[in-house]
Symmetry: C2
Subunit: 144 residues, 2 copies
Amino acid sequence: MRLSTRGHYGLKAMFYLATRYGAGPIPLKNVAEMQNISEHYLEQLIAILRKAQLVKSVRGAQGGYILARSPEEIRVGEIIRVLEGPIAPVECVSELKTAECDQADFCITRTVWERVRDSIVQVLDSISLADMCRDKEKNQQGKE
Amino acid sequence: MRLSTRGHYGLKAMFYLATRYGAGPIPLKNVAEMQNISEHYLEQLIAILRKAQLVKSVRGAQGGYILARSPEEIRVGEIIRVLEGPIAPVECVSELKTAECDQADFCITRTVWERVRDSIVQVLDSISLADMCRDKEKNQQGKE
DNA sequence: CCAATCCATACTGTTTTAGTCGGGATTAAA
DNA sequence: TTTAATCCCGACTAAAACAGTATGGATTGG
C-alpha cells in the first residue's frame, strides 16, 4: 500500500517550487539539495511534470523551473496522478477504465476498494500547494 | 499507489470464508475456484493469515479453512495489515515506527501523507467481513 | 566563449511480484 | 489398511518495477 518515491519526491519538489513562487526560475540543483534527492533522478521526474505542463522550464544559465500555474491552482492529486498514474488501490477500481473485471457486479470486495479510492482522492484533491505553503508558515510561526 | 495482489486476493478469500461461516471447513480449492486465484499461490497467502490467527485450518480429507473469529469481529484493515504490512502511503508515515525522517518537523509533505493514511485507515477499519456479507445479501435481493 | 543549466537516452543492480514446482504430513472414509 | 483429499513447507523463477547512474548534447546569460 505504497506510493513509489516518484510521487513522494515529486510532491516535495513541487512544494519547494511553490514556496519560491514568484522568485523566478529555480535551478533543479537547489530543489534536489533542499529536499535531499538525487539530482539526476529528480531530473527524470521533473521531465514528467514538465510534459504534463505542471512546471515550465527556462533553459540556459540562470535557468530553472517555475510552476506553470499559481500554487493556489495546483492540487496535490494532480501531481500524484501525473507521476503515479490514476489513483487505484487495486487495478479493477482505477479512476479510469472501469469494469474489465469479470465479476464487476457481484464483487463485494470491489466496493471496499472503491471506498478506499474515493477517500484518498478526496484528501489529495482537497489540498493545493498554496494550502501546504500556509501550513508551513503556521508551523514556522510556532517555532520563533 | 497500489495494493499488491496479496491484499486483493487475501480479502477475497477471507470474504468467501465469511460467506460460508458456520458451514464447517472450506477447502482452499473451492476458495481458489470461486475467486479465480491460483490455488498454490493462495496457499502461501493463507499461510500468512493462519500464522496471524485470522483463520484456522483443519487438516486431512474433508479439511479446509475456517475464520478464526466471527465475521463481525474481523475488520478489513486487519487483513490488509497482515498481508501488506502497516498502512503507509510513504515509508516515513508508517503506522508503526514514526520519525526516522530527518526533517520530521519541517516536512509539510509529510502531513499530506498522514492525512491520506488516516483516511485509508478510517475506511478499512470501519468495514467488517460481516458488513461485506450484508452488502452481498442486499445486492442479491435486488437481482431476484 | 564558457559555465550553468536543462534535455534525452541508455544502462544497471536490487527488490518485489506473482507465481510454479515438488514433495511431505495428516486424516476421513472406503 | 489403503486411498484420496486436504493442508504444509521450502525452493525456485521469470518478469516487472524501482531507484537510481552514466554520458553526452542543447541552450543561453554574462
